[in-house]
């Protein structure tokens, strides 16, 4: 059949044999490929499925919504404002250069800002959103919308930003937020975890202290992306958790009044509940508008704030250190009484000055007060009497009493990062820190609140509060605590503790059971030895305000509803020379920096005290002329607000 016979046969034999070998090889290779397919698609399917998802899914984190600050009455004092922003995605713009020039024209962007935007554009990917303006004015926003048809690619967007509706009024308490810096990221894990470009974080004040609570968590948008990272479609959207709202104990009305009362002045006002320790108001003047910092403050504004001689950047309430002046006298008197150094009937004759240790010590009243007892000495603020009392008391015993009542230590326990401790001197302190022994003359001037002693306005407020509540320790706070004890509870505990204090040595079985059950509270302990001493000092302060000859008699309120008791203070900034004393210049004739600080501490209403106040006006002259009148206006409002506040408090107690 086949041509060629043997050769052909051999050829066919070979080709068939070899074809068989190849076919066998094919089966093996095909099996190999199927095995490979099996291992990839079946065995390792999970691994590759994950890899594939990793490829195609990308998450975009959205900035968290920051928690709000509320005042005691629930008003938003640091909120989230809707702002109009202008976004551009360069990739979606046909002619980017033209668009930018048009926008520059419409929004009146200056060259510096413009080059900044261009620089930013060059540093990011073309599909990433470029924020042209973070906060368009309504004017700009409507203008953009008007021209929108010729601005292809420009997107006016509604976004949220921090806002401080009460502007100047809460600046020092709240602080402000600004764009998170590298440093913020390093120092705070929570910020790092939730960071997105442009995130605003607290820079100072409570905004910074409560950063972790306020921040909230990122929302997440999950997109499917292609190999070039371009978003193809949105797969899901997870809402982030809004930051916690924080309610403060502050009262916006009182805060506002404080700002008004200190307008044009440098100083501070603090108001505190003498039982709960809640801070009702806390203002430092002058203040500034924190909204300026949200989008980066302008150089001009910043310079203005920084170079203001009245130092608006300092929160004077907790960071300002002042000699307490005569406002320390109630404490000196209490300390002397407690230590049995003097009796209330102790008489000292004041003729305007006294000689001691080779120095002459002057009373503020040149002609002298005549013969004084302790009550009158407080009432009329006789310096000579307190030189004498301090001399007998000694600085170290005064030091102990001062510490007990809250001087020389922070009041808010670090809630405000820049709070200062102040200084209550002692012989030991001087030796350790100045390396020199204590001089007795220094004890005398400490007795009238001059010399080394330094206090913050808030410390003076706490001191007054702890005197006014009958001499019990309280726990100042600026944020509302859900577990805040009721007034009745606190008062009950104070009474319990007072009773226990009396019967210290006597240990009844009931007492032991109480101790075991931990009923008797360690909180709200009495700070006195004899409650009568505290009562005496409080009564003397009443006299100082409400009796003729009292230093703040002019600022009294006769209506018992508003009646308050206080103590003036005038702190010398500069040692008065003999020459100046003779000249007896009027305040307006003294250069501003050399004028005395005016101070006033007070509590009210007198019969049933509830609030303590401390006021400082830097270089304001005398306490009675400048500071005490402020208290008068302040107390009116505080007492008027009291009822509403109580109502809110009771509501809260029911609610929680």
């Amino acid at each position: 059949m086949f041509e060629g016979g043997d050769s052909t046969f051999r050829k066919l034999n070979t080709i068939n044999r070899r074809m068989f070998i190849i076919s066998a090889a094919k089966v093996v290779v095909f099996t190999g490929i199927v095995t490979r397919l099996f291992s990839l698609q079946i065995n390792e399917n999970k691994k590759y499925l994950t890899l594939s998802d990793k490829n195609r899914l990308r998450e975009w984190r959205l900035p968290p919504v920051r928690g709000q600050f509320l005042d005691y009455f629930g008003n938003v004092i640091a909120g989230n404002l809707k702002v109009y922003q202008l976004h551009v995605v360069p990739e979606q713009v046909e002619n980017f250069k033209y668009l930018m020039l048009r926008l520059k024209d419409i929004l009146e962007i200056d060259d510096k800002q413009f080059s900044k935007i261009i620089k930013k554009k060059n540093s990011q990917k073309p599909w990433e959103t470029l924020i042209i303006s973070e906060n368009l004015s309504w004017d700009q926003f409507s203008k953009i919308n008007f021209y929108l048809h010729e601005l292809v690619g420009a997107k006016p967007v509604l976004s949220v930003a921090r806002s401080y509706p009460f502007k100047k009024n809460y600046t020092h308490v709240l602080g402000y937020v600004a764009q998170a810096s590298e440093n913020d990221l390093i120092k705070n894990e929570t910020i790092k975890k939730n960071h997105v470009p442009g995130l605003r974080v607290g820079k100072i004040g409570l905004e910074k202290t409560f950063e972790n609570d306020l921040l909230g968590t990122n929302g997440v948008q999950r997109y499917e992306v292609n190999a070039y990272g371009k978003r193809i479609n949105q797969l899901d959207h997870k809402e982030g958790q809004k930051g916690k709202n924080i309610r403060l104990t502050l009262d916006t009305e009182v805060q506002k009044l404080s700002n008004e009362l200190l307008a044009e002045k440098s100083g501070s006002i603090s108001v505190m509940d003498i039982y709960t320790g809640e801070i009702i108001a806390m203002h430092s003047s002058p203040s500034f508008d924190p909204n300026l910092f949200l989008y980066g403050i302008s150089t001009k504004d910043w310079k203005e704030i920084r170079e203001d001689p009245l130092k608006p950047l300092i929160n004077k309430t907790v960071s300002g250190l002042y000699s307490p002046g005569s406002t320390i006298k109630p404490l000196v008197a209490l300390s002397a009484l407690e230590n049995d150094v003097i009796s209330p009937n102790q008489k000292v004759h004041c003729n305007g000055k006294m000689e001691m240790y080779g120095h002459t010590y002057h009373c503020w009243k040149e002609k002298g007060h005549g013969t004084m007892n302790l009550r009158n000495a407080i009432k009329q603020s006789c310096d000579i009497y307190f030189y004498e009392t301090a001399r007998k008391l000694g600085v170290d015993r005064l030091n102990l009493t001062s510490f007990k009542f809250g001087l020389g230590n922070t009041v808010l326990n670090g809630v405000l990062a820049n709070e200062k401790k102040g200084l209550v001197p002692s012989t030991e302190w001087k030796k350790n820190n100045l390396g020199v022994g204590w001089v007795l003359g220094e004890t005398l001037i400490t007795g009238i609140g001059q010399g080394y002693i330094q206090t913050t306005p808030l410390q003076l407020c706490l001191m007054t509060a702890q005197l006014a509540n009958g001499g019990f320790k309280i726990y100042p706070r600026i944020t509302v605590d859900k577990n805040q004890e009721s007034l009745e509870n606190i008062k009950y505990k104070m009474a319990q503790n007072a009773f226990k204090g009396k019967e210290k040595k006597y240990s009844s079985p009931i007492r032991k059971v109480e101790e075991l059950l931990n009923i008797g509270s360690k909180k709200y302990l009495p700070l006195y030895r004899n409650p009568e001493n505290v009562k005496f000092v409080l009564e003397a302060m009443f006299a100082s305000t409400n009796e003729v000859m009292g230093t703040s008699y002019g600022s009294r309120i006769d209506d018992p509803k508003y009646r308050f008791a206080g103590k003036t203070g005038t702190a010398q900034v500069k040692k008065i020379t003999e020459k100046a004393r003779e000249l007896d210049l009027h305040i307006s004739q003294i250069p501003y920096e050399e004028r005395d600080h005016a101070l006033y501490i007070a509590y009210g209403p007198y019969q049933n005290p509830r609030y303590a106040v401390s006021i400082i006006v830097e270089h304001g002259g005398s306490g009675s002329k400048t500071a005490a009148p402020i208290a008068k206006k302040l107390f009116k409002l505080i007492i008027d607000r009291h009822e509403l506040r109580e109502k809110i408090t009771n509501q809260n107690l029911i609610n929680t």
């Binding site: 059949m1 086949f2 041509e3 060629g4 050769s7 052909t8 051999r10 050829k11 066919l12 070979t14 080709i15 068939n16 070899r18 074809m19 190849i22 076919s23 094919k26 290779v29 095909f30 190999g32 490929i33 199927v34 490979r36 397919l37 099996f38 990839l40 698609q41 079946i42 390792e44 399917n45 691994k47 590759y48 499925l49 890899l51 594939s52 490829n55 195609r56 499917e224 992306v225 292609n226 190999a227 070039y228 193809i232």
Partner: protein, 374 residues
Amino acid sequence: MFQQSSYTDQLTFFQKIRSFDYVLLICIILIGIISAFSMYSTDGGELLYHSKSHVIRLIVFFTMMIFLSFLNIKFWHATGYLFYVIILSLLIWASFYGITASGSQRWINLYFINLQPSELMKIAIIIFYAKFYHRMQAGNVNNFTNLLIPFAVLALPIVLVASQPDLGTAILIALSGLVVLWLAGLNIRYFIYSSLAFFVSMPFIISFLEPYQKLRVLTFFNPERDPLGAGYQIIQSKIGVGSGGLTGKGFLKGTQSYLEFLPEKHTDFIFTLFAEEHGFTGSVILLLIYAVMIFRIIRIGSIVRSFFAKLFCYSFASAIFIYITVNMSMVLGLLPIVGSPLPIMSYGGSSMLATMIGFSVVMSAKIYQRQLIS
């Protein structure tokens, strides 16, 4: 009775139709349909450029294949050398006046099609060898002159193609040629010697490779060494195949290809897309169709009378097998990335033209299975 009278030059038209190999035809049609749908998927589920022109080519070349099948097998035998010479001249033409794309000068512009002669050379070399060995006595196969001519015939196009540069096609041409030589009965010794020589000269060959080719070889051994550069294709392809699982992500739902993670998805990596969308099941079915196709060609080879037809069928079946395995091994990360299309499935006119010509020769061999060639 049918057989005795019919296997002459004068087969009637109906007889020809009836002796078509329908199993092979169905396999081709099935793969054609699968490839059309895959191409539609690479276009993102729209009838765009690639899918349109692929479908048009399929129809045109398939019809052409049917018509060419009616040609007597003697025609292919007669024009065997001429065919080779034409393709070789086209190759030379391409190396001077060819169109350069992605760094390689491998196309010539024929106005209606951009022809890639190197693809056609894969078939031409088989036809040439089949004719060359058709009349040769078994004893003469290993003669020196009879070794020299095939060597020159194979080496010439390989050098031309490799210098385009197109290493992948050059290797495939070489493999196709070697298969024919093996089947023709070349002494095993030569294969052993030459493969030894190949391995010895391997370092020298590598030193002559283009930098990108060297990189591919290196990358093959460790794709993770440069995941965004040279290893990217292998990694993404493996992810595509692996994430397909048992049943695949579904038609038009292959994220790897749809989201453009897959490079060259309509040419060399079309199988990745298919495996991603149709999973292990689909892949095995496709492989089965290919296997049946190859088996049918071998079967035709075993029944034809002329040595020319037999050698061609066996060689073509093996060549197709090689194309498939090289392409699949490549996308499955078993071989380095060399440009090699998957027959019929991959986008590309020349490759499809060459394959279809091959099929028509096979079909013609089937129709004229009793034809003797003098």
